[in-house]
Symmetry: C2
């Protein structure tokens, strides 16, 4: 759920007049993106997404995101291009917020991807990784391995989420500190490529969106985040072998993992499951029960963590 | 704020396949309408609004709304037509909700209408009244005069909203019971034509939307609801004479009020102000303070009520 900030029609007309995109025909707040206000803006020149940046997205990070999307769009990744105004500026101000006008992409987000759609998502992730490899920008992953102890500490008493969770998390943090890989291939990654953030039409990926967690990290860590979010049952207890294999096969068609990466996948996947377990637990504890925003249940990521801890976990990452 | 219900892409494709509107290109939840889940649906055949009916809109009332919009669309009112499927059905089921696919209309809702825009809104209301006059449907106005005592009683202790409000409301209910007009021209009215529910491009009305409070009542009561919502300062203390005159002039160009209606306008306007004061007070009391939904402040409608109670109130309704 999003759309926090109201946009005055006169201010909108002024903003749109800076661009070569015609005049406003329609502007509707949309429930897309978790941390920003998003509007579907139609002008006489086409359709666009207008994003106003709220809370978690730092204005200082915006040039990084603009450069990243520019780079990916130039390399034919299906990402939404940031539209430039007549002076070449992508970042604007409206309603007291930093804002961007962004290309509209067709497609819808899936809730129950098929193996064919998982393969397409894996291929799109791999192609994006190839395109981003020579991107010059960098950004600290504030949700990355180095920060999980702080995230866990800031969440509060994890046993209030699920009895026994605190001890499980403490154990896992110790394991990951001892076993987290070093020196794997790294570049800027999406870091949140859940099905919500992939637009598709049938089995065709039409858009990779919501790059606002993008940061520098291991490319194989991006892959396991996608694995964790595309290949499991909703409750997280079951990893569907056909969807997992299809995802890995799609990715392998674009990127050849090194032996060190393949060996590290189960550990990286435990880290990915822990990362979302921690942030969802934080939000669970800090979101009032009667708030209208939906708290996302952390337990499906505890279930994934347990699945990734099993002795046979390496088999979940086979491509065939 | 809206969008409560998630729509599965497969269910959406099945729904869209019932219509002659092509296949799904995009579907985004929009923050429009207060009580329903709304989606901006794009297909290869065009753009539409998909509405899923929640809570306050009774499924039993849907045929009334469909017939009303059909009637108005046939009479060239700029209302969104309900799209029929191949079997002629306008009302569908998806995600456990009744749902309609509705024509998309261009335009944006104003926040600070100019006198020219108020005149256009008044004219659009008048033209809609002329179009609806021979509509055969009828619906009890559950937010009408007969129900205000019950609404006030159900809201709770009004003094928790504003100290002294309970006594003001009790006085006003007694006054309106004694002075509410009878036998004024009546038909189905919109009953909620705030600026949010009018789409405009410049000074042209492109859409009258959100008819889900439409019900049978005095046409002049519809006019004063529009007066109360278009001609006042945001805090409700000031009625802008140029906007009020423009609105009344626009309406008068389409509908000639009777002498009895003109005489009744101040009383009707007190009723309109009380109706929104009561429903906003109800929501104020019953919405948790930390809910993410914005509670609408009731006090601007107390300010309007006080303005309409003033000895010179009749002058607020002059068209010139």
């Amino acid at each position: 759920m999003a759309v926090y900030t109201h946009v005055d029609p006169d201010d909108l007309a002024t903003l749109v007049a800076r661009y070569d995109i015609g005049t406003v025909v329609s502007c509707k707040g949309i429930a897309e993106g978790v941390e920003n206000s998003n509007f579907l803006l139609e002008t006489t020149g086409g359709r666009f997404i207008l994003t106003l940046y709220e809370r978690r997205v730092s204005e200082a990070d915006l040039p990084f995101f603009v450069d990243l999307l520019d780079h990916l769009a130039k390399h034919d990744s299906p990402v939404p291009a940031m539209i430039r105004d007549r002076n070449g500026a992508a970042i604007q101000q409206i309603s007291g917020r930093a804002a961007c006008v962004i290309q509209f992409l067709p497609g819808i987000s899936l809730t129950h991807p098929t193996p064919g759609q998982c393969e397409a998502a894996g291929a799109a992730l791999g192609a994006m990784h190839r395109a981003v490899a020579d991107f010059g920008g960098a950004r600290e992953n504030s949700m990355g391995h180095r920060h999980w102890r702080a995230v866990a500490g800031g969440a509060g008493n994890l046993d209030t989420v699920l009895p026994g969770l605190q001890a499980i998390v403490d154990d896992e943090l110790a394991f990951l500190d001892a076993n987290w890989p070093r020196d794997l291939p790294a570049h800027v990654i999406h870091a949140d490529l859940f099905p919500d953030n992939v637009l598709m039409l049938g089995e065709r990926v039409t858009g990779l969106i919501d790059f606002y967690f993008a940061a520098s990290d291991f490319r194989a860590y991006d892959l396991v985040i996608t694995h964790a979010s595309w290949a499991f049952s909703t409750d997280g207890t079951h990893c569907d072998p056909s969807r997992a294999r299809a995802l890995m096969r799609g990715y392998a068609g674009e990127v050849t993992l090194t032996g060190a990466e393949i060996a590290a996948l189960p550990v990286l996947a435990r880290g990915a499951a822990l990362r979302f377990l921690l942030t969802r637990s934080h939000d669970w504890i800090h979101t009032p029960a009667d708030a209208l925003v939906t708290r996302k249940d952390p337990s499906p990521f505890l279930a994934r963590l347990e699945r990734y801890r099993a002795a046979d976990a390496a088999g979940l990452f086979a491509a065939a």
